[in-house]
Every structure is written in structure tokens, then in C-alpha cells.
């Protein structure tokens, strides 16, 4: 007859066996995972190397020069375009005539007419002019702040009709931008260059 202790030992042996197998399998799978990860790291680093090389390749001065010449309306800077502070004339105490605001016409509103005598016919001091310009300068800033709020509903519409034509347009445009940015032809030539026989 099997005694109780036999069952205990049997159970223990079975447990030991199973746990051993389990551990061994886990070690194996972790090993596999490690190898896969290391392989992935190598691949990623190789990829980074390729991208870096490509970046340098695309930053070739001759290529940039050619692109600048064909897409920009700018020319290389020359010495006569550079000036130091010492060649600037001293800050004028009064504004030149061309910068003074036009005299208030009788047709303007009452408030403008009220302000006109304060400024008078003499050119406005610079401080006054700067103060007058301040709210104007603030304007683009505040516009910038409101812009994202305006854009948000547009984005949600696009995501709602993801399969619609708007998505297709967005898709095409990102693709063309990506193609432009990466310069596929140059990558091609990079690879051909790499593949040339020794």
C-alpha cells in the first residue's frame, strides 16, 4: 500500500520536476528575449549610424549650396552688409518728419480728436511712440494663444471622418513632405555608393 508519506514525496518530486522544467524554460525564453533585444539594439544602432551618415551626406555643402540657390532668394552675405554699433548714428531726440503720425483730420472720431491736442503738431517723443505701439505688438501674441483653441475642433472633425477625403489629403501631403524631407534619391545614391564594388 502507498503510504501517505509516499504521496507526499511523490508530490514533492513532481513539483520539483515541474518547477525545474518551468525554470529551465523560463531561462531559455529569457535568453531568447535577451538575444532578441541585443539584436534589436544592434539593429537600432546600425540604423542610427546610417541616419547620421545620411544626415552628413545630405548636409554636403555643395548640395546645400545648390538647394539654396534654387529655392531661396538669398545671396551669400558680404562684408559691406555687416555693421557694428559704432557706425550707427546717435539716437535722435526727435523723430524725423517721415516717422511722425499724420495730423488728426477733422473727420476722425471724437476720441481721436481728443487725443490729438495732447500729441500736438510736434513729433512724438520716442517713449510715447513705443507706448502707442505696445498694444499693437501684443496682438500677434494673443492671436497665437487663441489659435490652438480654434484648431482643435478641426482636428476632431478630421479624426471623426478618418476614412473620408480629408484624411486622404492629409495622408498624401505628409507623404510628399516626408519624401521631400528625406530626399529619397539621395538615399538611393548613398546606397549605391555603399554598394560599389571594392
Amino acid at each position: 500500500m502507498l503510504r501517505k508519506s509516499d504521496f507526499l514525496w511523490l508530490g514533492l518530486a513532481a513539483f520539483a520536476g515541474v518547477s525545474l522544467f518551468h525554470t529551465s524554460y523560463r531561462v531559455q525564453s529569457l535568453k531568447d528575449e535577451k538575444i532578441a533585444l541585443e539584436r534589436q539594439i544592434v539593429n537600432e544602432q546600425d540604423g542610427i549610424q546610417v541616419l547620421k551618415a545620411e544626415w552628413s551626406f545630405l548636409n554636403d555643402p555643395a548640395r546645400l549650396e545648390q538647394l539654396a540657390a534654387s529655392y531661396l532668394a538669398l545671396k551669400p552675405i558680404v562684408a559691406t552688409q555687416i555693421a557694428g554699433f559704432e557706425v550707427l548714428p546717435a539716437r535722435p531726440t526727435t523723430l524725423p518728419a517721415s516717422l511722425t503720425p499724420p495730423p488728426a483730420s477733422p473727420a476722425t472720431s471724437g476720441r481721436a480728436a481728443e487725443r490729438a491736442p495732447a500729441v500736438g503738431q510736434r513729433p512724438a517723443p520716442i517713449a510715447t511712440l513705443a507706448a502707442a505701439q505696445a498694444p499693437v505688438q501684443m496682438q500677434p501674441l494673443s492671436q497665437g494663444r487663441t489659435q490652438p483653441q480654434q484648431r482643435r475642433p478641426v482636428r476632431s472633425v478630421r479624426s471623426a471622418s478618418a476614412a473620408g477625403p480629408s484624411f486622404a489629403v492629409a495622408h498624401v501631403s505628409t507623404r510628399s513632405v516626408a519624401t521631400l524631407a528625406s530626399g529619397r534619391e539621395d538615399i538611393g545614391s548613398l546606397l549605391t555608393r555603399l554598394g560599389r564594388p571594392q
Partner: protein, 593 residues
């Protein structure tokens, strides 16, 4: 169904017999039965346990089978090889001073075969030749039939070729991860950076000089002093001049005179470092460091500096530039002959050979030799390149040698020697070793005084006059105060000097009131062009190229343009310049628009 024959147990034959049987043998029977039962029981237990174990084992196998076949389809058996961490990068990158890559390593796959594992060599060779155009069929077949266990078939496949061969699935045809050196600027920095062979061994240029360093600390890039933008501008302008004057070659150097850093160095014709096997000797030749030339009049920089620094010659001293000097079978005369007495400034301005000879003789032959030694013209130039030319110096150093050396003949040095020496003459008198490694801001730069600051100051004035009044007017750039010296040397053909084969050079320094950068351009055998009115001298060939280079690199280097007509500048250069309006952008307070 098979019917069993009747079976009668002896026990059931008759009641009496049964009784007897029972009673007589009951005790024995009982014992026997209990023993048998026990044995049977034990046997059955064992069977059950064994059966259970077997069932468990089968269950485990079937579970594993199901798992392996149904749920882990993607997890195919793979080559278990841990990638070596060191194999990631076995050679460090080479960068320019702005961090742009000049050389880098990329991983590629190389194809090799284990001929023992190849089943059908002919089929494999045919398929490989189809997949890889350029692979020789016969050679491959021979390799696949050889008795070796390892033969390279093709190194450094492109990703596409790798895929094409991979798809063939040929047994015994295997890939090895390798590295391939890649030079993003290609020809642009070919001579300086050099190249490495297929086994990652540096064979030329920085790749060879720093071979150990690049391998030992593969993760730290080597930052050079080169500036890719300047390199490009210099090469473009030299190439334009070589083209315009149908020259056989050209070279140039841009150097920071304060540190000795070489910012750009180019030599034409150049080569593609990706194909070292196809480089011709003429392309491989680095004119800047390996070539030694009789530099001609640019040597008057050193002659004047030497004479002035010796104290035996003053700037106002006059020397005979009237009578040609006859010595042995040579006659020394002037190209831009003035046929009058010239002072030191005029000798430099008109590049008078006669005056220079008299200056050298006044200073003395030993003084000249000692000076040449001091500025490092008697030995190879100390720079981090393996391709260095040894200067050709006269031995013994006699008077006739001193006379010809005064105007740059009879002694050959490399253009880099001249750039190094001119930097020292102009920067205040400190000789810095030229270097191709970036000098970090705040880093101490070693130097050795070779001439006094006062002499250097005098030399700046002479440099400026050559550009404003003398032979190099085309090198002037408004705002950058270029100073320099032209040199047109007759090239030696055999034992004689060829009359129509020149080596023209120009050394420009800017801004000359506070020298920062030196630009040197040399054109080999320029022919007169329509735009140069029949001239092929340095003033018409090299000087304009330097002017074009300085015009473009000045803003890039952040040199503040100065107005040459400002009183302190005029005083510093002590030059009797005609009064002109300002040469820079100006705002006049009277402008009313």
C-alpha cells in the same frame, strides 16, 4: 464474437468437496489468497502510478506540441549568437570642428560560403551570379567547389543585394556582419581624412595616422580642426581657377594663425576615398604636405622677415635693383624691373629678386640658414599626417644658395611649411605647430618665438602694401583688410627652368591689422586666359582665388569687417593710402528717407 469454452472451477464441483476443500485448506488458502492479493494490489498500484506518470508525460508533450505548433508560430528557430558589443563600432567617427561627419562606419552584410555545405555548386553559382551583377560566375564556381570551409564571395553587400541573396535560400551560403567605412563628404576631404581598407585598416591620411586611436576608443569621435564649409569654398574656388587657367592642379590651405589649426586643406586633382583601388598616383598625391616645391617669391616673406629681424636691415634701407647679378652660369634679374634703388618696402611690393638677394647677403648666409632652421623649413612639417614630404635643402649652404633662396629657388618646401612659417611671421612672431585637431576654447597652444613682435608688425605693413599697391590687387576684399604676397616660380624641367611652366601661389592674411586667418592658394601650370589678358602670374591666377575665398569665409568666421580708412587702422598699417570714402555699410544721420 468468440464464445469462451465452459470453464468450471474445481471449487464449484460439489458441495462436500467444496466443504472439504474449504475446511482442510482454508487456513492455507486464506494465507495464500491474502499474499496474492497483496502482490496483486502492489502490482496494480505500480501500474497505476506508472500509467499516471506516462499519462502526465503524454499530456505535457501534447500541451507543448499544441503550444509549439499553434501559439508560437512567429518564434522560429534562429541562429543563437549573441551580438558582440564591441562589434557595434570598431572604428571611431572622424568629425569636423562643427561636428559634421567626415568619416563613419556603417554595418553591412558580407557574403561568404562554406563549400562543404553547398549541395549543388553549379546551381548556387548560377543563382548568385544572377542575384549579384558583377559577381564572376566562373570564379564563384571555383570557390564553391574548393575544399575550404570558408571563402569570401562578396564583401559589403547593399541591403537590396543582401535581400536578393537571402531570398535564394541556398545552403552553405552565409552572411557575416561587417563594417564599411563611409565618407559623407567623399572627395571634399579625401586627402586629409584619407581612407581605410576593407578590413578597417587605415591606409592614408588621418585614418592611417590615428589608426590605433580610432580603434582603441571607437566610441569617442575624433574631432578635427577642419571646417567643412571652408573646405568646400576653398575647393570650389581652386577648382574654378584650375578650370579657368587650364592648370594641371592646384591646392590650398586655410589656417588659423593664432593657433596653427588647419581649417581647410585641399589638393586637386583629388579622389573618391570609397574606391581606394582605383586611385591614380596623381590623384593620391597631396600637394600640400607631400609635394615640395621651389616656392618663388612667396619666400621673400621669410627673406624680409629674416633680414629685418637680424637688425642689419632697416625698412628704409635702399638696395640695388638696377644691375642684374651674374654668378656662375646664372643671371639673376627682376620680373617687374624698376631699374632703380629700392627700399625694403618697395622690394617686397614689386617683388624684386635683386633687392632680395642684396638683403639676404647683408643679413648673412649663416643668419639665413639659422632662420630657416628656426621656422622649421629644414625638416618635415610636424602635422598629424603620414604623407609628409621632406624639404630639399642645399648642402653645403653656400653663398649662391643663399642668393637663390632669397627669392625662393634652390630650396624646396611643402606649401604647408610656407603656411606655417607665414603664420608665424604675421601673427606677432610665434611659430605654432600646424595641427589637424581642434583646439578647444581656452586650451593652451604651444608656440616658439621666431621673430620679434616689431618685425611682425613691419611685415604686416609690407603684406598690406602688396595688396593695395603691388602685385595682388585682385586679392583685396573691402572690409577684410587682406594682406599677402604673390609668388610665381618657374618650374624645373630636368636641369633647366621651363619658361612657360609656372607654379603660382598667393598667401593672403586677413584682417591684416590683427591677423586671424591665412589663406593660401597655389595653381600648378596655369595658362593665360582671356580674362587675365595673357598673364599667368600669381597676381592674375592665385590672388583672385584667395580674394574670392576670403570674401565668402569672412562672414562665416565671424570676422568683424573694418573700415580701412579709419585713422587707427591707417596708423597701424602706416600705409600711405589714398583717401577714400568709407568702405563699409554706413548710416548717415543726414539721410532723410
Amino acid at each position: 464474437m468468440i464464445t469462451e469454452p465452459e470453464f468450471e472451477h474445481p471449487r464449484f464441483k460439489g458441495d462436500e468437496a467444496r466443504e472439504r476443500h474449504y475446511s482442510a485448506e482454508s487456513r492455507f488458502h486464506a494465507r495464500a489468497i491474502s499474499g496474492a492479493t497483496r502482490a496483486l494490489d502492489r502490482g496494480r498500484d505500480r501500474l497505476v502510478v506508472t500509467g499516471l506518470v506516462i499519462v502526465l508525460a503524454f499530456c505535457a508533450v501534447s500541451v507543448r506540441l499544441v503550444g509549439a505548433t499553434c501559439f508560437t508560430g512567429h518564434d522560429e528557430a534562429r541562429l543563437e549568437r549573441t551580438p558582440d558589443a564591441d562589434a557595434l563600432l570598431s572604428r571611431a567617427d572622424i568629425l569636423d570642428r562643427g561636428g559634421q561627419q567626415l568619416a563613419t562606419s556603417l554595418a553591412t552584410a558580407s557574403l561568404y560560403a562554406d563549400p562543404k555545405l553547398v549541395l549543388d555548386a553549379q546551381e548556387a553559382a548560377v543563382k548568385l551570379a544572377e542575384a549579384l551583377p558583377g559577381l564572376d560566375y566562373k570564379e564563384t564556381l571555383a570557390k564553391l567547389r574548393s575544399n575550404k570551409r570558408f571563402v569570401w564571395l562578396k564583401r559589403n553587400l547593399t541591403p537590396r543585394q543582401h535581400q536578393a541573396v537571402h531570398v535564394l535560400g541556398l545552403p552553405g551560403i552565409l552572411f557575416e556582419r561587417e563594417e564599411r567605412r563611409f565618407y559623407p563628404p567623399a572627395n571634399l576631404t579625401a586627402h586629409v581624412v584619407g581612407y581605410a581598407g576593407v578590413d578597417n585598416v587605415g591606409l592614408a591620411g588621418l585614418e592611417r595616422f590615428f589608426d590605433k586611436r580610432l580603434k582603441q576608443s571607437a566610441l569617442t569621435p575624433l574631432q578635427t580642426s577642419l571646417d567643412l564649409r571652408l573646405q568646400h569654398i576653398l575647393r570650389r574656388e581652386i577648382a574654378a581657377s584650375v578650370e579657368e587657367f587650364k592648370a594641371i592642379g592646384g591646392n590650398g590651405i586655410i589656417m588659423d594663425v593664432r593657433t596653427g589649426e588647419v581649417l581647410a586643406m585641399t589638393s586637386l586633382p583629388d579622389f573618391d576615398p570609397h574606391e581606394p583601388g582605383e586611385i591614380e598616383d596623381e590623384q593620391k598625391f597631396d600637394r600640400n604636405t607631400l609635394g615640395v616645391y621651389e616656392m618663388g617669391s612667396t619666400f621673400k616673406i621669410f627673406n624680409s622677415a629674416m633680414a629685418l629681424d637680424s637688425g642689419k636691415v632697416k625698412p628704409s634701407d635702399n638696395f640695388d635693383a638696377i644691375n642684374p647679378i651674374h654668378i656662375g652660369r646664372f643671371t639673376i634679374s627682376d620680373y617687374h624691373g624698376k631699374h632703380r634703388m629700392l627700399n625694403v618696402t618697395e622690394i617686397f611690393e614689386y617683388s624684386s629678386n635683386l633687392g632680395s638677394v642684396h638683403m639676404a647677403l647683408t643679413a648673412g648666409v649663416p643668419t639665413q640658414q639659422a632662420f630657416m632652421n628656426k621656422i622649421g623649413f629644414l625638416k618635415g612639417v610636424p602635422i598629424e599626417l603620414p604623407e609628409l614630404g621632406k624639404p630639399l635643402i642645399p648642402h653645403p649652404w653656400r653663398e649662391i644658395n643663399a642668393m637663390t633662396i632669397a627669392f625662393g629657388h634652390g630650396m624646396s618646401v611643402s606649401p604647408l611649411h610656407v603656411a606655417m612659417g607665414a603664420s608665424a611671421v604675421i601673427n606677432g612672431g610665434i611659430l605654432h605647430k600646424p595641427t589637424l585637431l581642434k583646439v578647444q576654447p581656452g586650451q593652451e597652444v604651444g608656440g616658439e618665438r621666431v621673430i620679434s613682435e616689431r618685425t611682425s608688425q613691419e611685415m604686416r605693413k609690407l603684406f598690406r602694401i602688396v595688396v593695395t599697391e603691388g602685385t595682388a590687387k585682385f586679392a583685396d576684399v573691402p572690409g577684410y583688410l587682406v594682406g599677402g604676397k604673390t609668388g610665381t616660380a618657374d618650374k624645373q624641367r630636368g636641369r633647366h627652368y621651363a619658361q612657360n611652366a609656372n607654379l603660382t601661389s598667393f598667401i593672403g592674411v586677413f584682417p591684416i591689422n590683427d591677423p586671424k586667418y591665412l589663406v593660401m592658394v597655389m595653381i600648378d601650370e596655369p595658362k593665360p586666359s582671356a580674362s587675365s589678358h595673357g598673364f599667368a602670374t600669381a597676381g592674375w591666377t592665385s590672388a583672385p582665388a584667395v580674394g574670392r575665398v576670403i570674401r565668402q569665409i569672412g562672414p562665416l568666421l565671424g570676422v568683424q569687417p573694418v573700415d580701412e580708412n579709419r585713422p587707427e587702422i591707417r596708423q597701424a598699417l602706416d600705409a600711405d593710402l589714398p583717401q577714400k570714402g568709407t568702405t563699409l555699410a554706413a548710416f548717415s544721420p543726414d539721410d532723410d528717407h
